[in-house]
Amino acid sequence: MIAVHEAVLLRRRQNKQRDLKAYTASGGLTALAKAHSIGPEETVRILTDSGLVGRGGAAFPAGRKWESVRTAADPTRYVVLNTDESEPGTFKDRVMIESDPFMVLEGLLIACYAVSASCAYIYVRGEYGGIAELLERSLDELRRAGHLDGIAPGGRPLPVEVRHGGGAYICGEETALFRSIEGYRGEPMAKPPFPTVAGLFRKPTVVNNVETMANVPDIIAFGAKTLRSRGTERSPGTKLFSVSGHVARPDTYEVPFGTPLKELLELAGARADDLQAVLLGGAAGTFVFPKDFDLALSYEGVAERKATLGSGAVIAFDRQTNLWQVAERLGRFFAHESCGQCVPCRVGTRRQHEMLETLANGHGRGDERSLLLRLSQVMTDASICGLGQTAATAVRSLMDAESAGLLAH
C-alpha cells in the first residue's frame, strides 16, 4: 500500500499564485488575527498544548521555547527564523518557502507577537539567493498591507531583517548563527546559557526552523488538537522529508509521522527491494538497511532502532554503491565544515576523513576501523557543539552494518 501523501504544510504547493491575495483567499492570516484577539499568553498555551516540536533536528518543544522568552525578565527579545538549511540531502525548507512563503512568515509574525519581539531576523544561507528575494518580496506585501503593524512592543510595526549567510554549514547551529548575524566568524558558543536566556546580542531569543514556523498558523487557527488528527500519539502531525539519491522521483514529501520508511521510499519511486540502504537524517544520520525499512518515521520509531530523523533527509543507495565511498564524502564534508574552534573536532574530522579515504580506495592497513571507533568516542565526548559530537555517527553505523554482513561491497 502506498501512503497517502498528506499535503497540509504543502497544500498550496500546486497553486500558481504566490501573492498575498491568494494566501488570504485560502484562509491565510486568520491565525495572526486570532493571536491578536486572544493575546500572547493564550497563543503560547495553544502552541504548547499542540505538542509541536522543532523540526530543525533537536526536536525541542516549540511552546516551551516561546514561553521562556515570553516570560523573560529582559524586555528586549528577538525571534530568528533559521533558514540556513545546509545539511547534505536536505532541501525541504526551500520547497516549503517556494510553495508557501506566507505560511512561514505568518508563523514568524505570530511568534514575534507572542513573545513581544523587538525585531525579527531571517537568516538565509548565502546560496539561497532566490529564496531570500522571495521572502523579501512577500514581507513587502505584508508590510504594505499593514500586517506588521501592532506586532512589536507598544503596538509598533515589527522590523524584520533578512540576512544572507556566508556559505558555512556550521551557521545553522543556533549560537553560530547569532555570531554570524552579529558580524563575527560563525563559531558556536558553549551552552548554557541557552538562546532563550542569552541568544542574539545576548538577549532572550526564539530561534526556530522554517518547517516548525510553517506549522504554527494552522495550530493557532484551528486549536491545540490540530496536529493530533495525524501522526502518532508521541509525534503528532506531519513531517517533511527530502528524498534523494537512487529514487525515480527525488522530491520533498509530506507524510504523517509514523509512516513506514518503506512507504516513503515507494512514494519517491524507489523499489525498496532494489536498494542497498538509505542514509536517514543527513550527514550526521545513520545508515538503515532493508531489514529495517519497516521502521516508523516518528521520533519514538527511530529511537527504537537507534536511528534519528535529523533534518528529515533520506538518501537512497542502490546495490552498486560502495558505501565506504559515501562515507568518505561525509567525512570530507565534516572536515571542511568544522569551524576549527575545538581540537577534537578540528583534528578529529580531518583524521577521520583521511582514514575514510583509505578505506574507500580499498587500501586500508587493517587498523582503521578500531582507530575510527576510538576517534568517534573522543569527538562525541569532547566537542563543543553538535557538529563534532555527531561527525562520526554515520561512520559508526556503517561499521556496525559491515560487521553484520549487510554491505554489498
Binding site: G89, E127, R163, H164, G183, S244, P250, D251, T252
Partner: protein, 155 residues
C-alpha cells in the same frame, strides 16, 4: 587593471553608507564588496576599519571563515559544483573534472577574469542532482554541455 586603492575605498564607503556601519552589518557589506570586486581587497578592509571600526585582521578573520568570501579574486561569474553525497551519486565528480579541463584549475579565474569554478558543499538542490550554481543561480541538473558553453564565454 586593478582599481586604485582610493577608488576602492570610496566605493566601499558608499556601500557602508547604504548598508549601515554597525558591526552586525559586516557580512552584508562584505557580500556587496565581494560582488563588486570578486574578492575583499585590502583597501576595502581598510575602509571597513575606518568606517565600521572593525580591525583589518578581524575582517580577514571573517572573510576566511566563509566560503562565499575570498581574499583572492575569483571570476566575475563563478560556477559552483556540489560535491556532496546525492550529487556524487549522479556524477558530480566527472563534471568537476570536466570543469577543470575546460575552465582551468579550481578557484583560478580565466585570464580575462570572466569565469572561475569551484567545488562546494550541498546546495539544497539534491532533488535536481548533480547540482551547481552559476552566477548565484541554480544550474541543476548540470550537464557537460553547460560547462562547455561557460568555457566558450571566456577568453
Amino acid at each position: 587593471m586593478p582599481e586604485p586603492d582610493a577608488a576602492v575605498m570610496n566605493r566601499v564607503r558608499t556601500l557602508i553608507d547604504e548598508t549601515g556601519s554597525e558591526r552586525t552589518q559586516l557580512l552584508e557589506v562584505l557580500h556587496k564588496v565581494q560582488a563588486e570586486f570578486q574578492h575583499i581587497p585590502r583597501a576595502a578592509a581598510e575602509a571597513i576599519e575606518q568606517a565600521m571600526n572593525v580591525p583589518v585582521a578581524d575582517t580577514y578573520g571573517v572573510v576566511t571563515f566563509y566560503d562565499l568570501l575570498t581574499e583572492r579574486p575569483v571570476g566575475r561569474s563563478v560556477l559552483r559544483i556540489c560535491e556532496d553525497v546525492p550529487c556524487c551519486l549522479h556524477g558530480s565528480e566527472e563534471l568537476a573534472r570536466e570543469a577543470e579541463q575546460r575552465l582551468g584549475p579550481e578557484g583560478q579565474p580565466s585570464a580575462d577574469g570572466a569565469v572561475s569554478w569551484t567545488r562546494c558543499a550541498c546546495l539544497g538542490l539534491c532533488d535536481r542532482a548533480p547540482a551547481a550554481l552559476y552566477e548565484e543561480k541554480p544550474l541543476a541538473p548540470l550537464h557537460h554541455q553547460d560547462i562547455a558553453s561557460i568555457g566558450d564565454r571566456r577568453a
